[in-house]
Symmetry: C2
Subunit: 366 residues, 2 copies
């Protein structure tokens, strides 16, 4: 659903996130004022159609419905204090990747917390700056909102509506939970990716030419801006440090196990298998990913000719036998006249399904 | 180029790699015999069109031109000894991900090393088994060949021709170099991915719903088979253990730095920035990836209307000014009537290019 946006908004900070918020708001008809410490960034965002440059206009209009502070975590509170002083908007949010630090700083600076609702859209790219901005950056992505006790209900509602107007899914969390969760799913992976990538810095070209999709995927996020990430990680130092120390311990134990294995003692293999199995289980918990077969189903593989109607015929035969297919995958090597259908069924149905398929002339493997 | 394949081949091991080799060889007309300890896997591969099942035929024909041993590293040497005993083929190769261990074991078992040339196609999927096989699995990918002193020239040539017939790019390396290189670009990243993924095993669902593309990419390879990977890693324990210990040290130092930062001492930020910068430099060295701007060029951003001919007009104006555009990127947010062209030029050309573009009416940012 596309929600209606605020009537007017001020976006402070015309980087990737700020300009993307502005573009998304413009798309739902919000009047947007843009400002950035860098006049060229502010003007580029305006030229892209993200709103009106405050600098070019001389001045924003009266208080806007909402102000979005799009800047690194440590910059949020001082900017909030200044903006509230000038009465820039009726309510305020930020989009920084860390939530406890800006909130604590805002309290310390005596900001008005009835109107400031911290937020964090979980979207990003390796690129930064207004040129990389996209109106659809937040589409279908979580947008965390961390209401605090002092917040007015109106301010919380306005920030949730902003998130929806940008296409995001509002998720309510405490600032402490948010910071621990992003440490786990974003900040620690970033540092780990950087550590693996750092090992490539002086690698021989002959080694790099062997690189495949695996290491490209593992290291992709390490291409992000070191300055920006140092700011984010520093602002969430406690939770990130604790979790990262755990990962370092895991890897150190695995390295020690490998040392024992290299010495010819095979007993140490268990530490590897254990880590690999927990890793596979962890990947399987990521929403929208299948982490290996669901344990309650069994798989039957059937070779099928690659022509229209074959799959329908197969489903028909299996259905007629009273067997419910819980899930299906098709594997097909390009250029081959056949594919392999993988049918997931209840274990008690394996005999029945194998029987009817074999009787129907399909090569089948349980 | 598609090289002509061997006239006949025996593929021992009908898993992902073995069946993919067989499919690729069938596509260039090679007669292929398939065998696998698991009769159902052997039959499935045969039903997919990967060749003739040795079991179904009762017996393979006379010695084939080449035998491909497609099995875990530790199984290669015993299989090689048995196959050479039976005179299965005129020359032999394997496809295991580790090269020193099978080679040393083959020597120890007294195998004939004139006819055995170790190999490793750098291709894979998270899935395993014959159903996941693809004829194009090796297309354009490096296929490492590790000739040894005893090899006959004919055997080395035959294995290189096999790699090319499968669409791979032969790369000659010593077994020791191979093992260190794959430790760096494949085995260590796999364990690191597993360690990050293991942290998700007991994570709260609210944390997992915040997961984005970053952690999905970092952990993707950890979905691979724990058994198979434990075998690979154990077989390359020395090189992997050493490099992994380095990564663990990096992360431990970063965790310690974060602890100091959390205590309020900002001096520790340097350890983070340093790691992030080395990581970014490392990603930039991966072939085919641009790791940030080439340092010798400067970038000029221009907002351009999203309509045919605009880019041509822009290039014409810049070209007429005598400026060479070294590289160009286009950023375009869907639904917007404009995009941003990023022009990379020599630093001494920035003034000229900015001038002619501004004069031509384009909004420009240097």
């Amino acid at each position: 659903m596309t929600a209606s946006g605020p009537g007017s908004a001020v976006v402070v900070g015309a980087g990737l996130i700020g300009t993307s918020v502005a573009l998304a708001l413009r798309a739902v008809g919000t009047q947007v004022w843009l400002s950035d410490a860098d006049p060229a960034a502010e003007q580029l965002a305006a030229d892209m159609g993200a709103g009106e440059s405050v600098r070019a206009a001389g001045q924003a209009g009266g208080p806007a419905d909402i102000a979005v502070l799009a800047m690194p975590p440590a910059a949020v509170a001082p900017e909030l204090a200044a903006a509230q002083q000038r009465g820039v908007a009726r309510c305020y949010t930020d989009v920084a990747s860390v939530k406890q630090l800006p909130l604590a700083a805002a309290r310390a600076l005596g900001c008005d917390l009835t109107s400031f609702v911290p937020g964090h859209p979980l979207s990003g790219r390796e690129r930064s700056g207004p040129a990389a901005a996209r109106a659809d950056l937040f589409l279908g992505r979580p947008w965390v909102i961390c209401p605090v006790e002092e917040n007015s209900a109106a301010a919380v509602t306005a920030v949730a509506a902003l998130a929806q107007a940008c296409g995001g899914q509002p998720v309510l969390l405490s600032a402490a939970d948010h910071d621990r969760y992003v440490a786990l799913v974003s900040h620690v992976p970033h540092l780990v990716a950087a550590a693996v990538a750092a090992g490539l810095e002086h690698a021989p070209p002959e080694a790099l030419q062997l690189a495949g999709q695996g290491i490209r995927d593992v290291t992709r996020i390490a291409a992000g801006s070191p300055d920006m990430w140092a700011q984010i990680l520093s602002a969430n130092a406690g939770p990130v440090g604790e979790l990262l120390a755990e990962v370092a311990r895991e890897l150190d134990a695995a390295a020690a196990g490998l040392g024992v294995l290299a010495g010819g003692n095979d007993d140490a293999r268990k530490v590897l298998t254990d880590l690999l199995e927990r890793g596979r289980a962890g990947v399987g918990r990521l929403p929208g990913k299948r982490g290996g077969p669901a344990p309650e189903y069994a798989m039957v593989q059937v070779v099928i000719p690659d022509r229209p109607g074959e799959l329908a015929r197969l489903f028909q035969v299996v259905g007629a036998a009273g067997v419910n297919i819980e899930d299906v995958d098709i594997e097909h090597s390009p250029g081959l006249p056949v594919g392999v259908a993988e049918l997931w069924v209840r274990p008690e149905s394996v005999d029945a399904v194998t029987g009817v398929l074999a009787a129907g002339g399909w090569p089948v493997r349980r």
